[in-house]
């Protein structure tokens, strides 16, 4: 007999040839915040999807509150008080907060949807939990932090006593994260059991009581947070000692890292952006008069909550988005109206934020992806030269440590980290003077992060001008010489890296403070 809210044992789950879970287990005590950690692809999300009833395990048992519920459905899970807060918000943007919260369990008056009562119910839930959101506002108009609160409200409205949060902080600014922690602690104190999926060790230490570590589909460790160290968790996650790169060092409690330099940035600016203005596809101004210059050997890091114009800024410089006003030049040459091809020839390399949409053609082989944009150089008599493409691929795969080391498979078959290495290899494996690196380590494992950061540092030391955009504040702080915070299309602040700390930057990220660019 078990009074444990969650007990999963011997869980196996395969997707085709991929074994996402092999003998995974999870044991959560009542009233605790339990961190489920592991690298990307370790099988955390699969395990939680099984718990939430989204998929069925091939083998193993799932017990909730002592009863065997193996293979149940989403609605069974909801009915039993298990609520999942998905990493990608499951909200209908055109509906209001209240409508989203009650969707599927709408209060009725006769045959009609009782909108008044829905609003009242949701407002009282908001009052009780402290998850403050305007209940009658449309979700499309909410900030990311507010949208996440709506997600939590949705599960609580359905009576969830067991809350599963999948990477909840990935999109939040530091103040929003602190607020989330406050809410989660309050929910725990009110008797909820919380499972938090994350790969950020600082968060694990901050908030959890117990930790379960997964690696390669299996559960490899379970420890009390108070009795372990970040290094021990990291070792369990990766299965070996790693030389933690700067952001991880910081995450595991080391002193704030600064970019240690081989050479101080020198000379005239290579990339100069003046009063740049860009609209999004709805013709809303999303980059609003931004100016900056990056010298050779210098990294400008742009921090900020996603959706404040970072994407459009990078795309405008790369030539993928129309420019409404201002100018861009590379090495003194104006490229404001240049085509993508001309910009590449002018020396711009671009690691796009979405490798699936912009970075790779997933159905093409690794070798083909490595020559995208340079097909002419790899052609003879107007036909692609297979031998040279293959030879080039072998070279780059070795140099950039793509695993498995073969050129023929489709890019789709690689893990996220290795896909990203292919993108990096293509962009940084040729000659360039300016690197645009947007979210360069998003969704890649710790080993690949280490590798990519080293590539960026080496490029900097080789005198390249680098624009880094990342939602990971630690990453920006670890790699940059200058840090700018982007908020609503403007730089809220620009600081030398040595003055930039999460505490200093936090208020700028939420618009709480703003100052003209230094």
């Amino acid at each position: 007999m078990s009074s444990h809210p969650i007990r999963m044992a011997g869980i196996d789950k395969s997707f085709g040839p991929v074994r996402a879970n092999r003998g995974a287990s999870l044991d959560v005590a009542p009233g605790e915040i339990h961190a489920l950690v592991g690298e990307n692809g370790a099988g955390k999300s699969t395990l939680m999807k099984i718990l939430g009833g989204l998929i069925r395990p091939d083998a193993g048992t799932v017990e909730v509150n002592g009863g065997d519920v193996t293979g149940w459905s989403t609605s069974d899970a909801i009915a039993a008080g298990v609520g999942v807060v998905h990493q990608h918000f499951m909200l209908v943007p055109t509906l209001t907060v209240a409508e989203n919260v009650v969707l599927g369990n709408e209060p009725k008056r006769g045959v009609m949807f009782d909108r008044t009562r829905a609003l009242a119910d949701v407002n009282s839930l908001i009052q009780r939990t402290g998850l403050i959101v305007p209940a009658d506002r449309r979700v499309a108009e909410l900030s990311v932090g507010e949208a996440q609160r709506v997600e939590i409200l949705k599960t609580l409205y359905r009576g969830a006593k067991i809350l599963i949060l999948d990477e909840p902080t990935a999109v939040l600014s530091p103040p929003d994260v602190r607020e989330l922690w406050t809410v989660l602690r309050k929910l725990r104190d009110d008797g909820a059991t919380i499972v938090l999926i994350t790969h950020r060790l600082d968060e694990v230490i901050d908030i959890s009581q117990t930790i379960t570590v997964m690696r390669a589909g299996a559960t490899v460790g379970r420890m009390k947070t108070s009795e372990t160290t970040p290094a021990e968790i990291a070792r369990a996650m990766i299965g070996r000692d790693v030389v933690l790169s700067a952001p991880l060092r910081e995450a595991v409690g080391g002193s704030a890292a600064t970019a240690e330099h081989a050479l101080a940035p020198v000379g005239a600016a290579v990339l100069e952006v003046t009063d740049l203005a860009v609209n999004d596809s709805r013709r809303v101004r999303v980059v609003d008069g931004i100016s900056f210059a990056i010298r050779p050997g210098e990294v400008l890091g742009i921090a900020g909550v996603e959706g404040n114009g970072q994407t459009e800024l990078v795309e405008a410089i790369a030539g993928l988005r129309d420019i409404v006003g201002g100018s861009i030049s590379v090495s003194g040459r104006d490229i404001t109206r240049a085509t993508v091809k001309e910009r590449r020839e002018a020396g711009i390399a671009h690691v796009p934020e979405d490798r699936h949409r912009r970075g790779l053609i997933l159905e093409y082989s690794i070798a083909e992806n490595l020559v995208l944009g340079a097909q002419q150089e790899f052609s003879r008599y107007g036909l692609l030269d297979g031998d040279r493409i293959e030879e080039h691929a072998r070279e780059q795969i070795g140099k950039f440590d793509v695993r498995p080391p073969s050129a023929a498979p489709a890019a789709r078959t690689l893990s996220g980290g290795n896909q990203q290495k292919v993108v990096i290899a293509r962009e940084m494996g040729r000659s360039f003077t300016v690197l645009l690196a947007a979210q360069p380590t998003r969704g890649v494992d710790v080993g690949a992060i280490e590798f990519i950061h080293r590539q960026i540092r080496e490029a900097r030391d080789a005198g390249k001008a680098i624009l880094l955009v990342s939602a990971e504040l630690n990453e920006v702080l670890a790699l940059s010489d200058k840090v700018a915070v982007m908020y609503r299309g403007k730089f809220a602040v620009t600081l030398p890296a040595r003055d930039a700390t999460p505490e200093v930057l936090g208020p700028y990220m939420t618009g709480g403070k703003s100052r003209d660019a230094a």
Partner: protein, 287 residues
């Protein structure tokens, strides 16, 4: 022509548009592309003619017409929801299938390649307002608005069309919602066809003549809102009435007036009159 006649004629011309646009709107809001309206209307017109012909009762004709629309609505639903077929391809297939089938059956039953025998319709009266279908057509707009905005089902329809995964994650049966929505669109568009057939007391080959597409234009021009789509139907119908009135007057070629709905739709899609924002998951199968 006096203003009263102009208004009544506009309303009569608008009836099939109102039916079809209201139906198409429900399906589109649920995420199912409504290129099928033309086929639904034609099938409704045809089965209504058969129903009225064999029973002698226009009421049976109406029921048969609704059933005909429902049948092809469900066919489109099965293809796109159950088998996840591309909605545009399935829509075109349904339209072509209905055109072909009605011709074949017309030939088999009545030995004619052009039209059915005369069938019983409603006593429309001079103004045309004795026909209950006129009133039903006018009522379809508030009915759909009520369904969409005032009922739990409507909330789920909107969720299914905007973000089906979100709807599914809270236990909404998106497939069921989409089936029901496409069935409603089949029935309503079918009734639009019924009105045409019973008003003319016969079925003629391809008698809907593109009205289903004008209804889609009205849905888009109305930015997927039932009231605005209904207003668009009336606007298009008024343009048509005007064209009929101007015939023989000379000056403006009738083609200029016929293209009005399409020009307005392109203007709406180009974002010149407000912005036409389609349901986000329109045309996308549930994951």
């Amino acid at each position: 022509m006096n203003p009263f006649d102009f208004i009544t004629q506009t309303l009569r011309i608008a009836v099939p548009y109102l039916f079809a646009a209201s139906g198409g709107l429900v399906a589109e809001r649920a995420g199912i592309v409504s290129l099928t309206l033309e086929g639904f209307m034609l099938s409704g017109a045809f089965t209504a003619t058969l129903g009225s012909y064999y029973s002698g009762s226009p009421v049976i004709g109406v029921l048969a017409g609704a059933a005909g629309g429902l049948l092809f609505g469900l066919l489109h639903g099965i293809a796109t929801v159950r088998f996840r077929a591309d909605q545009v391809v399935s829509g075109i297939a349904v339209n072509l299938l209905v055109i072909g089938l009605t011709q074949v059956i017309l030939m088999l039953l009545f030995d004619s390649s052009s039209n059915s025998p005369r069938v019983e319709g409603f006593q429309a009266g001079l103004s045309g307002f004795g026909d209950p279908l006129v009133w039903m057509g006018l009522a379809s707009v508030p009915l759909v608005a009520f369904l969409l905005y005032k009922t739990p089902f409507g909330l789920r329809v909107q969720a299914a069309g905007e973000h089906p995964e979100a709807a599914a994650s809270v236990g909404v049966n998106v497939r069921f919602i989409r089936y029901v929505s496409v069935a409603i669109s089949g029935v309503l568009a079918g009734l639009g066809g019924v009105y045409l057939a019973l008003d003319q007391h016969q079925f003629t080959n391809n008698m809907t003549a593109g009205r289903g597409f004008i209804a889609i234009a009205a849905v888009i021009f109305g930015r997927w809102d039932p009231w605005r789509a209904g207003a668009a139907c009336l606007l298009f119908a008024a343009a048509e009435t005007l064209q009929i009135q101007l015939q023989g007057v000379g000056g403006i070629p009738s083609q200029f007036i016929q293209i009005i709905p399409y020009v307005l739709t392109i203007i709406a899609l180009a974002g010149l009159v407000g912005r036409a924002v389609a349901p986000a998951a329109l045309g996308r199968a549930e994951e």
